[in-house]
Amino acid sequence: VDDEHVDVLAIGVPVDATTDFELFMAESAPALARTAWLLCGDVRQAEELTQQALMRTYLHWDRARATDPLAYARRTLANLRIDTWRVRRREVLVEPGLLPDEAVACGADRAADRDQLVRALAQLPRRTRQIVVLRYLEDLSERQVAEDLGVSLGTVKSTASRGLAQLRAALGEEGR
């Protein structure tokens, strides 16, 4: 996020704006966390990514709430460089914390499916993953995706369809 160094001179956010932000935060955090999880595949990273996105949104709250704050936060989230986070390359393989405490069959299935989804997404190149997640799993328009990620509409169109096909292959659904 290159506007890191912009607006740093703003002093404080008014109290009512803070309340406003806190309401927004409570409402939007779950959805942002889900997006973050799809992008990074890890629950702890997703939480931290969400917190960082919210923090940056708060730092630019005047600008964010003037338009669509959720879009602003999501854009921030999508553009956080996940590879600068505590990257756990194959943490998705071993995530005991995600497994249910009791070995309930459906819980285990869910964990296994989650694992498969995460690993399939992880096989996509970063940019492709961002585009597939925002376009298909968050159901944004092609134009919104292009704006969020700062790429051309043509890139979104071509990458999205190619990425979806890759994902389909990774999930073993080719030909279905």
Binding site: A29, R34, Q51, L54, R89, V94, L117, R126, L137
Partner: protein, 531 residues
């Protein structure tokens, strides 16, 4: 049909997506702190503040010299007249610095102690940010971020010998003297004009700060220890301290080193700085350089230690007592500090020259980080990475002081992923063993990888021909000819170059043109292997 696939995919995601509770209570306070930190560091190097990441501490430590005599007051300091609390507030101001090796236009801005950006060094190259704390005689300063133009050529924090070697202070006319361990004056501080405005810094920061009630309060003496607690001496608190409760997988800890530096981790992010125990037992420690990770399953030890104003030893535990005299934490003994590599060794992001540079020797009578030994590189080969060799057991690694695995074994999990988190990079170790294997003694290293937390950070994990994290694709191909490129991605890389040493695969993951990850061993342990 693609639409069918998309529908099924969405259903699967909806069914499988975990509930992720996001702790939001700290978002606004952290944002405010961060704003305060960023306020004056417009053109700061990119390492500065992203999430208070461990990398921050790396850059921080790279320039954080040891105090010449550390936390233990000696006779020279003990003989100084204590400065009464109501006079300490006179330190707050914009001071022109006169010190050996320092340019004539340098100012030291001392605002509220303990606050982020409470200390600023104004040089012609820009502003260096830090914090400070004082007791009756001791002066302790730490720096965290720097304008890019002031950084050392190797990317480490600027050398400020007169500031780092200062360990005490005394009034001198209408100004102050900073004093080193030998009793020599390292710098004199005088009211004499203001620094030239810096376009990257808010104009009010170029003015003299005004002491407010909060600053007065922070400069006052801490309340006495609670009844029954005995003040700890500096020598008693040197060592490694860990939470006294149940062990946490993230291994949060605080190490108070005898050289007057400290470092610690909340389990996720590193932090560090300098500390001292004053003549009356007050604990003098500026605010730490990195934030506690909000979502960290650890313990906020860096925050706790920098909140402490007195220390006591009680039943072998270190009791942290805040300004109001309330005990805020009890920490258990985790071992002598000397078990660990020194701060300079561990956190030095890049090898340092063996000989001090001209600037770093001026005015520094004792050691500085430029004389600290560089951390021995961990060699990449088919055997593994450094001491993390394929086939070693978890227990062997846990017992190896050179390794310091960050997490402990999870009983019943035969396939284990373990990490060493150090600023700037991370070593991941995967173990494998047959289901039912005792993880400590049976599971062995199946693969080990080094990851740069920043795509370009250089760390002392070195392969053939000096190939390291941050090396280019061409350098990798030259050093390891005959490998194959694949488009396989990881979270940190876009493509990989697979080569081998003997029969062991070595994989380089590249983000852009820079090596972001080096993996030795099998990258394809089937998930079933994990039981």
């Amino acid at each position: 049909m693609s639409d069918d696939f998309l529908r099924r995919l969405r259903e699967r995601v909806d069914a499988a997506a975990p509930e992720i509770p996001v702790e939001t209570a700290l978002v606004v306070p952290r944002a405010r702190r961060r704003r305060a930190l960023r306020r004056s560091v417009g053109a700061v190097a990119a390492v500065a503040v992203l999430g208070g990441s461990a990398w921050t501490a790396g850059a921080f430590w790279a320039g954080q010299p040891s105090a010449s005599m550390g936390g233990t007051p000696n006779d020279v300091i003990a003989s100084l007249a204590p400065v009464p609390a109501d006079q300490r507030v006179g330190l707050i101001g914009m001071w022109r610095v006169a010190a050996a090796g320092e340019g004539p236009g340098t100012f030291l801005r001392l605002a509220g102690p303990g606050a982020m950006s409470g200390l600023e060094v104004w040089r012609a190259c820009g502003v260096i940010d830090g914090s400070w704390a004082v007791g009756p005689t001791r002066f302790v300063a730490s720096t965290y971020t720097s304008a890019a133009g002031c950084m050392e050529p190797d990317g480490s924090m600027p050398s400020i010998p007169w500031l780092y070697s200062a360990t005490a202070y005394q009034p001198d006319g209408d100004g102050w003297d900073l004093i080193d361990a030998s009793g020599a004056i390292t710098a004199t501080l005088r009211h004499d004009g203001l620094p030239a405005p810096d376009p990257n810094v808010i104009a009010s920061e170029a003015q003299a700060p005004v002491a407010d009630d909060a600053a007065r309060s922070l400069l006052s003496d801490a309340a006495p220890l609670p009844t029954g607690l005995r003040a700890a001496t500096a020598a008693e608190v040197v060592g490694l301290w860990v939470p006294s409760g149940a062990p946490l997988a993230t291994n949060p800890s605080i190490e108070l080193a005898g050289d007057g530096t400290w470092r610690g981790s909340d389990g996720c992010n590193g932090a560090g700085g300098r500390w001292a125990v004053d003549v009356d037992g007050q604990f003098v420690i500026p605010t730490g350089g990195a934030m506690t990770a909000m979502g960290c399953d650890g313990a906020p030890l860096p925050e706790l230690i920098t909140t402490a104003r007195r220390l006591a030893i009680d039943n072998g535990q270190l009791v942290l007592v805040d300004r109001e005299g309330q005990a805020i934490a009890r920490l258990a003994w985790g071992g002598p500090a000397s078990v660990l590599p020194t701060a300079a060794e561990t956190f030095q992001a890049t090898p340092v020259p063996a000989t001090p540079t001209a600037t770093s020797t001026v005015g520094v009578p004792t050691t500085s980080p430029t004389t600290a030994p560089a951390q021995a590189a961990w060699q990449v080969s088919g055997a593994g990475i450094g001491p993390i060799r394929l086939g070693r057991t978890l227990k062997e690694l846990a017992d190896d002081p050179a390794v310091r695995l960050n997490t402990s074994a999870t009983p019943g999990a035969p396939c284990l992923a373990r990490f060493l988190m150090t600023p700037g990079y991370q070593i991941s170790v995967e173990f494998a063993g047959a289901p039912g294997t005792d993880p400590g003694n049976g599971a062995v290293v199946a693969s080990v990888s080094a990851l740069a937390l920043d795509g370009t950070s250089a760390i002392p994990v070195i392969g053939r021909s000096g190939v390291a994290l941050g090396s280019s694709a061409a350098e990798v191909e030259t050093a390891y000819p005959g490998g194959t490129w694949t488009s396989a991605t990881t979270y940190s890389s876009d493509r990989t170059y697979v080569t081998s040493d003997g029969s062991v695969p070595i994989t380089f993951g590249l983000a852009g043109d820079a090596v972001a990850e080096i993996l030795v061993g099998r990258a394809d342990i089937p998930v079933e292997f994990c039981g």
